[in-house]
Every structure is written in structure tokens, then in C-alpha cells.
Amino acid sequence: METQVILPLTRIHQPLKLEIDFSDKTVKGCRSSGTLFRGFELMLEGRDPRDAAYLTQRICGICSTAHGIAATLAVEDACKIPLTPNAILLRNLIFGADVLQNHLRQFYQLCLPDYFISPALAPFAPRTTYDRRLSPSENARFVQNFWQGAEMSRLAHHLLAIYGGKAPHQHGIIVGGTSMPPDADRNNRFRGILQQILDFINNYMLPDVELLAKRYNDYFAIGRSTGNFISCGMFPQLDHATCHYPPGVWLNGALHPFDPALITEDISHSWFSGPTQAKPTSATSKPDKQKAGAYTWLKAPRYANLAVEMGPLGRQWISGEYRNGSSVMDRIVARVLETQKIATWMQEWLQQLVPGQMTYTPFEICATGTGIGLSEAMRGTLGHWVSIVDKKIAAYQIITPTAWLFSPPDAAGNRGPVDQSIVGTVVGDKQDYTEIGRIVRSYDPCFSCSAHLIESDGTVTQHRIC
């Protein structure tokens, strides 16, 4: 048995450290870990609750809007602030644009270079060429679409900024709604750019993933996770009670309703001191870099004591649209299908906007209150928990998809989904770990989001979804 340490694992937002135990070429053990901790939740204590919408976006530059959505939902839940129909639609459009940006960038810039030969140019060179199966003309097509994909994700941020002000770290989504009333001028430009992106998805992205799945058919059997999925819902309908992507949990082959009360967090292998297992709303833990047996900043969130997978595949599994498997290629295909689906939804939402109607509801911040904001982020279930005392944030907690996916084992020894996917893999390329990179990137990890700390004694019963 030999152990290899990989840091940085590249083409990921912020680095990931992997420790892999090999027996010859087979992975026998895997410990993924976060190596960056900034402590955002501590920074939020004592702040004006409205600030959370902007400050928490700074956790992550690639999925900033998801944090903006979860933070506003949590404060609106705590203070019972209603949203107008226009606000719901505009939030969906702004958030949708950020999801398009993320998926386009992830597929072309981060994921595909594992499968085609990159342009002969730094920073792509030195290039990896292990197990490339595309013909020269197919490779040339991927190179061309690699650059075109970069243009499209730029356009998706352009789309976001039409109503969001700027990107990353948009300004448009604020507690109480959104800030820009829709008008024909902006809708017209929004529609035009959205159409360009949708055309690219239909004419290039879908055929590209089709070719990829054909050439790398064996990856439908590689990198399988636990097969349990969770989604907390995404993109509210106009009633703000149901979602376009429904919440739900798939456990041991059956669909169950989603219940946030069943979420617990385990810190047996994390650099935190405190009770080993606790609910997000009652945990108290402090950073403890010296803790024996700990190796990561990530805690281990569990649903009904099980490790669960999430993200585009999880959402489509729960909604029943895609239930093929939980492999590398399933995750990639589900992400591309979702890109098309969201772009199509966005066209509908744009049609439903009513110029002249309000997008913002004036409100007073409540003196006390507790709230949960849950929304699917690009890569999975994101939750913000807030407790307000004297119109200030008394405690704030964030559980990110990265924590779920890359979690260390819990006290019972259950591995997190990514570690689970990697263990058992036969690695032919022990220089660049191509197989492992493919598995990890199929999850679209983001380690800026890994930092997490819980310090609260509030009790929360209600929550606001998507």
C-alpha cells in the first residue's frame, strides 16, 4: 500500500487536497479535504441582516448568486417578508443566468480538458494526453467549442448583469425582492442574449456531450457514488410554495419528502472541537487545528445518517427526468441537460414578467426571528440558517454542497459521496491521475465554499425553500 497526496487538484475553484491509498493501481482509500478556511459565519455575527445577501456572496465567486438567494430567503423567512411575482421571476432569471454561466464554464473549461487534447498553449501546456479517444477532427471541434464555451459563459454573466448590476457578486437580489423593475428595453436585450446561449447549447453543447458519452461509454460504470440523492428545491413558482425543481430525497431506491430536521453534522474528522454529531441549529463548535484524527475543514453533513449525492444529477433524479445511474458520465450528461432545461425555463419566466409592477417590497427588519433559506446551488443543496436578535444577526450558519459531497467519514465510518466514488477505481495514469480527476470534476467541486463553522443555540422550525 502506498499513499499519494495530490494538492492542488487543478481546474477546481480553490484547491482540493486528495490523499489516496493505492494497492498497485487500485484505490483502496481516499481522503479528500478542504485546505482553506476563512470563517464567514463568524464575520456575520452582529451585522445588519440585510448585509448577509451581499457578504455571503463573497464566499464563492462562481456560485455567488446561490449564496445571495439563500441569504435573502433566510432573512425573509425570519422576518416574514413577502415577495412580489415579479421579484420571484427576476430572481429566477438572475440566478438562472449564473447557473448557465457555471455549467458552461464547468463543462468546457474545467471538465472537457480531461477528455480532449488541450490547445498547445500555456497555461494548458504541459498537456496531459492519457486515454484520449477523439479523432483529430473531433478534437479540433472540441478545441473550437472550448473557446466558444468561454465566450458563452461570459455572455451568461452579461445576461445576469442586465438585471443584477454586475457579476460575479451581483447586486440585484436583495432582502425584499429585486432592485430593477422590468421593462421592454431590458427584456428585449435579455431575450436576445438568452437565445444566443440557447442556440449554442442546442447546436454545440448537447452534440458535444453526446459524442463524449459515446467515446467514453465505460464512464457510465466508473465513479459511482452511494446512489442516494437529495434536492431541497430550486427556482420557486409564482406561489412561492412549490418549485420548478421539486424538493425530495431518494434513499435506498425510494423517493421521500425532504425534511431539513433530518440533517445532522458530524465533526469526528474535522478540525473543530465540540459534540461529534449535532443538528445545524444546535451545534456549537470551534476551529481546532490541532485536533487528533482530524484532517479537513469540512464537516460531514448527513441526511438521516446517510451520505447523499446532489447537484444537477440529484435534481433530475428527484424530479424523475433522469434516472440512469450515479456515474461520472451520468453527472456530466445531467449537467448539460440541465443547462438546456434552465435556459428554456428562463425564456418562459421572461415572458411572464410584467413591466410596471413592483419587484421590491419595503419592510422593517424584525427585532427577533429565526429563518432558514434553502436553495439548490449549481452543485447541490445549500442552506443558510439565521437567527436575529435586536435587529442584528446573532448567529449564522451555512451548509454548502461541497461539505456534503466532499465530507470526511462520519463516526460510523460512512464515507462522503466523492470519497466513495473514488475508492475501488483502477488508476492507469499514476502521473496525472486522469481517472481520479475525471471523477472529482464530474461533481463540479468548489472549495471556496468549503469553509464552514457553526456556532448557535437557536431553534428553527420553519424554512423557506428554493
Partner: protein
């Protein structure tokens, strides 16, 4: 005949010059400056923002402007191989490459809250990697507010003990702050470095080309400020000063440059500027939506009341002097006394603005009351 020779000569000279020019350009294209991009305590937002550049776009930037040898969000190789690319390039090109740093330098527990690599059986902290590379770089550019001043990573209580790059280095660091940094600011700064050397910098080492003027002085809604038409909450199309706008103390060109190649930016989006390019952001800007408290900066003291009403106009510089000058020149007085609305509002830039220029009733009423107070302020 003489004329012919002259013209022939001039033609050939022009041709020669043109050739030189071409070969100069060609040489520049083939010898792009080497750039090494390291990411420390960051959200990766500046890397994403870089990819959002329109001109040059990512492809053009990498082919024709810089030779980006290390950027872990883009490169193929992993782990020790990636790190060796970084170190070898730095050693082989010592004194020639531009080091770009994204994210704050994290000092807690000896820097161990941020690891940037693993080699020779040991983890390498971000701060140690920075020191190793900084001594070899020709220029160091900090991208984003975290790398420039600590930024959001250093928000109180600053658990990770984050600071900006300049705080740990004894040599010049050119700061291109912003949360995220606008791609034009960063690439424009690189362009200056490559073609004309170090740009003119302000006291915080920011290029004056991009960070030289107040947002407030360039704002499309400046007229509303001068006439005291303030939004009461975010989402209203007026001056955002009363809901926390930091434009009056923020040096950047967002109102002119705007974001993501649209016609939008935070104030254009009916929300306050939160001053993301300034040292101390976000700490000094929070609460983001609260009216700016009385500002006490050297030679600069004002509050919204004095600014809006033009009474008791304060000390030196800044808004105080500006309004004082306006009051003295009777521009403000004329507008407020003789009309209830600005005489010449700025031309509408979109349909939304055109509709919104019809002021709501209460704004009109508020203005009708104002003249007497202005007159009172002008009494000796």
C-alpha cells in the same frame, strides 16, 4: 526629378518603418511576458471576472497578450507536477515574470489555514509560496480587494488573520482592487506594465488610470444628489446616498465603464455602491444599506443632511466644498427656489429611466418645502 527622389525616399522610409513596426509587433506577440497567477485566500471571483473580459477575450488574452504559465483553474496537470511548473518557470525566468496574486494572505496558525500545494512530502502554505515567488518576480500585481487590502477575507473578527499582499512584502505591489476586480482594470494595468512600465499610482498603489476619480463625481445620478432627490429604499431610481451609497468616498470608474459589457452597475441597478475597491472593504461599508454616517476623513466632513439641504456646509474638500460652491453660485438655490424639479434632467438612458423621471408626489412636496431652509442657510 528632385521631387521624385524625395517621394521615392519617403516611400521607402515609410516602408522600412512599417516593417520595423510589424516586426516589433511580431516580436511582441512571440515574446509575451510570463505571468504566474497564484490564488491564496479567495473566492475565485477575480479569475471568473478575468474570463468575463470582452476585449481582449480569454482566447486573445492567452494567445497575444500574456504568457500565463500557471493558473490552477485552467491548467491540465495536477499536484506536484503543477507545482513544479510554477517553481521551474519562476527560477528560469527570475526577475522577468509578473506575479499575480488573487486572495488574501492568511497568517493564522502560521499560515496553515491556507495550503497552496504539496511537494517533497510536505504541505506548502500560501504565505510561504508567496514569499518564495515574490523575491523572483519583476512586478507583483494584487488582483481583487482581498489580495490588495485583505478584503472580505479580513472582515472582523478576521478569523484567518487575513491581510493584503503588500502587508507582508517589502517591495512594491500594484493593487487592482474590486470585488471582483473589473477585467478592464486588471488587463489594462498589465497592458500598461508591458508597454509603458509602472502606471501612475495613488497612495494605495492603485493605478490612477482606473482608480483616479470618485464614483460620485462620475455618477449618472449626480443631478439627483444635487437636487436632493434621494431613494428611500433600494429599488428606487434616484440617488442612492440615503440608502448607503459609498460613491462619495470610492475611487473607481464604474459609472462610465459599467459592468459585464452591459449598461449596468450597482447604482444603475438601483442599489448602493458598496465601495468594494477601497481599503477596509467590507468592514467600513457595513451596514451596506444604512445611510452613510457623518464622514470624518482628513479635510472631509459631511453628513447627508448637510449635503442634501446645503445648510451648515462644512469644512474643507469633498462634498462640503462642492455644495458650498453650488450654494454660493446660486445654482442649487435657483433650482430649488424657482422650480420643484431639476430644470434639465439628464437625458434618459433607458425606458425605465424615462418612466421614472416623472417624480412621485412626495418628492415634489418635499421640494416645495425646501427653499426657505436654503435661504436660511445663506443668511450670514
Amino acid at each position: 526629378m528632385d521631387l521624385c527622389v524625395k517621394s521615392a525616399l519617403s516611400v521607402s522610409l515609410a516602408e522600412v518603418l512599417l516593417l520595423d513596426l510589424h516586426s516589433g509587433i511580431a516580436a511582441q506577440t512571440t515574446k509575451r511576458p510570463i505571468v504566474l497567477w497564484v490564488e491564496l485566500g479567495s473566492c475565485t471571483g477575480d479569475s471568473i471576472s478575468l474570463d468575463n473580459s470582452l476585449s481582449p477575450n480569454l482566447k486573445d488574452l492567452l494567445h497575444n497578450v500574456i504568457d500565463l504559465r500557471y493558473h490552477w483553474l485552467l491548467m491540465n496537470v495536477e499536484g506536484e507536477r503543477a507545482l513544479s511548473v510554477l517553481r521551474r518557470t519562476a527560477q528560469e525566468n527570475s526577475g522577468e515574470f509578473i506575479l499575480v496574486v488573487e486572495g488574501s494572505v492568511m497568517l493564522a496558525d502560521g499560515g496553515t489555514w491556507d495550503y497552496a500545494g504539496y511537494s517533497d512530502g510536505a504541505l506548502l502554505t500560501g504565505v510561504n509560496l508567496l514569499h518564495e515567488l515574490a523575491s523572483q518576480a519583476k512586478h507583483i500585481v494584487a488582483i481583487g480587494t482581498c489580495a490588495s487590502f485583505g478584503g472580505p477575507s479580513a472582515t472582523k473578527p478576521n478569523p484567518s488573520h487575513s491581510v493584503g499582499v503588500q502587508a507582508v512584502l517589502d517591495r512594491l505591489v500594484i493593487n487592482t482592487p474590486g470585488c471582483p476586480c473589473h477585467p478592464d482594470w486588471f488587463i489594462g494595468t498589465l497592458y500598461h506594465l508591458i508597454n509603458y512600465g509602472i502606471p501612475e499610482l495613488d497612495t494605495y498603489n492603485r493605478p490612477k488610470l482606473f482608480y483616479g476619480r470618485l464614483i460620485h463625481d462620475q455618477c449618472q445620478r449626480r443631478t439627483y444628489f444635487e437636487h436632493g432627490i434621494f431613494a428611500q429604499h433600494p429599488g428606487e431610481p434616484w440617488c442612492m446616498y440615503a440608502v448607503g451609497c459609498r460613491g462619495p468616498r470610492t475611487y473607481a470608474d464604474c459609472p462610465n465603464r459599467e459592468w459585464n459589457n452591459t449598461d449596468n452597475w450597482p447604482v444603475g441597478c438601483n442599489t448602493p455602491c458598496i465601495g468594494c475597491v477601497e481599503p477596509g472593504f467590507p468592514e467600513v461599508a457595513m451596514p451596506f444599506f444604512q445611510r452613510y454616517p457623518d464622514v470624518k476623513l482628513p479635510g472631509f466632513t459631511t453628513s447627508m443632511d448637510t449635503a442634501a439641504l446645503g445648510i451648515g456646509v462644512a469644512s474643507l474638500g469633498g462634498i462640503g466644498v462642492h455644495l458650498g460652491a453650488n450654494v454660493l453660485s446660486r445654482r442649487l438655490r435657483k433650482n430649488l427656489v424657482e422650480t420643484t424639479l431639476p430644470l434639465n434632467p439628464p437625458a434618459p438612458r433607458s425606458l425605465a429611466q424615462q418612466q421614472s423621471i416623472q417624480a412621485p408626489e412626495e418628492t415634489v412636496r418635499r421640494h416645495k418645502k425646501r427653499p426657505s431652509r436654503v435661504r436660511r442657510s445663506l443668511r450670514p
